[in-house]
Symmetry: C2
Subunit: 333 residues, 2 copies
């Protein structure tokens, strides 16, 4: 099977065809030409993000391909969610060491199942030979004035995160056989272990929550490199500071059983969470509770925005603790 | 320097900022947030294409980084040209084995010089560690009914190509020290050699020609994998055949000096040309001549569309010759 046949079999879906049943109406021309053609929605702007995943860097070479297909799109949809945007379409560029058809079939299944769940059409791309690398660009839509930017946080706003933090980082430590987490790994049930692991392998982008936050949150971003580093970016963009009560960071029951230092490190600086971090005025608290319930995602207030430029961490007793956590940087590890 | 500082220094340009002098008005929010935000033009659809270049596959690992930056964007702009679209914005995902700052500076210069010449804003992306890989997604705009698709060629249409074919393939053979091309390589002047080599290293996307062909050409595509293979795709999409006089394929003076078999192979099946292949009714001939002169690009009639489904090749005397040429496929080499 050659490159063109492979694309046709595994990556051309009815929802991206320019005609026929199941097509998404915004796709005027699907894959197969020099470009795809998509229609934009009046009163909306395009929200666009690109991410690259490299084997050995962002995932293990032997990662289950179906999970990998899911995750590759999920991390990009998470960027749309963080902007409050509705997913519309995406491109995929894929480098493969060999043409392993079962691998491609499984990857495509994981990728397109998630895409289909979000009505996000795979409109084009490229498959080539090379070290296993996945590059995706997603395109969504949002009303310009309601887009959730990083730079809108106001002094006095509450800070929230969605879901729980630290599970993906715990799963990574398990995979790397970190002795500090071995006890928890062996003492939990298979089901619990799988739940934690799925946070690393099959993250859920908070797409519905992001859209629900339009016009409510003053600033938002997704937590991909760890809250410590990502919050720093939000504060820098908004030119303000924050106080965060580190022991209020929401964690799963498994992470909650860990020693306090490890729990804090995983929740605050773990990375790969793909939860949303956002700021909103205190008077929106009740509305936020309602919206979160509507979309079925837990949100937790973790602190508030200050007129300082520093980030102050407090423990459960309100005592200031040292902030020696940092985010992930691809060239500093 | 970390990932974020690197992006800020080398990849954030005034034309992609959401505010300030030099910004492109369609960029509502530039790089630095979870997504960029772009405005679409009324009556236009988005033309979107993605390509990935892998070191050792698409270019030599030691390729001059400034030329590589140019070429990585050029091959994507060529896809917009082939659709008749106006470039608007692009994303870049870059995997680098090490953070070699002079390399990044030169790459960025080649990339952004070409981007700026086409008012195409770098609106986002990703830099990560990994085997040298470049993935670009370009977004342009075109009126839906005037987009140059592959599937519109009509029986009786003339077939044209722009520029000359085969130079990039000749330069590649020189680089690979193919003995068949060595004589030409050593007998030409340095200037001529550089002219040929620049077709491989610094291809010119036919953006203005593509836009000029809106509403005139019935079908178009760019020639990236070699005319033999690419023409096959156009004919398959348009469900028709063609007759091509192989000896009318436009070639540079250097390619013209080669033995006939080699000249034909390079021009018809060489690849990496990034010229446009297009079909248009014979009554558009005078208009095409005028448009080509306006945009300063030579076009050559190479044959015509037939109601067959086969591609018939003829020599200069009209004698049918065997078509044993084929296009490039990443997994068949």
């Amino acid at each position: 099977m050659n490159e063109f046949a492979l694309i046709k079999r595994y990556f051309v879906t009815p929802n991206a065809q320019g005609a026929g049943a199941g097509r998404l109406p915004h796709v005027a021309l699907g894959p197969g030409d020099d470009c795809a053609l998509t229609q934009s929605t009046p009163q909306m702007v395009q929200a666009i993000s690109a991410d690259m995943l490299v084997a050995g860097q962002h995932f293990f070479e032997d990662t289950d391909p179906e999970q990998l297909g899911h995750k590759a799109l999920a991390v990009n949809l998470s960027d749309l969610a963080a902007m409050g945007a509705t997913p519309r379409s995406f491109t995929l560029a894929l480098a493969l060491p060999t043409l392993d058809e079962p691998w491609v079939a499984a990857f495509s299944k994981g990728l397109l199942t998630l895409a289909s769940a979000h009505n996000c059409a795979l409109i084009g791309g490229d498959i080539t030979r090379g070290p296993l690398t996945i590059a995706i660009t997603v395109i969504g839509e949002v009303p310009l004035t309601q887009a959730l930017r990083r730079d809108g946080a106001q002094v006095g706003d509450d800070l929230y995160v969605s879901g729980t933090l630290g599970d993906a980082a715990l799963a990574l430590r398990w995979a790397l056989q970190d002795p500090k987490t071995a006890t928890v790994q062996t003492s939990t049930t298979v089901q619990t272990r799988q739940t934690v692991e799925s946070r690393m392998t099959m993250p859920t982008p908070r797409v519905a929550l992001g859209q629900a936050l339009r016009g409510v949150a003053t600033a938002a971003m997704d937590i991909s490199d760890g809250l410590a580093g990502d919050l720093h970016h939000l504060l820098a963009a908004s030119q303000c500071g924050a106080e965060v009560t580190i022991d209020t960071l929401p964690v799963s029951p498994t992470v909650a059983t860990l020693p306090v230092d490890l729990r804090r490190a995983l929740a605050f600086a773990g990375g790969d969470d793909y939860e949303l971090l956002f700021a909103a005025p205190p008077q929106q608290a009740a509305r936020l509770t309602h919206l979160a319930a509507q979309v079925g995602v837990k949100i937790t207030r973790i602190g508030h925005i200050t007129d300082d430029t520093a980030l102050v961490l407090r423990d459960a007793n309100g005592v200031v603790i040292a902030n020696d956590y940092r985010g992930f940087d691809h060239f500093s590890e």
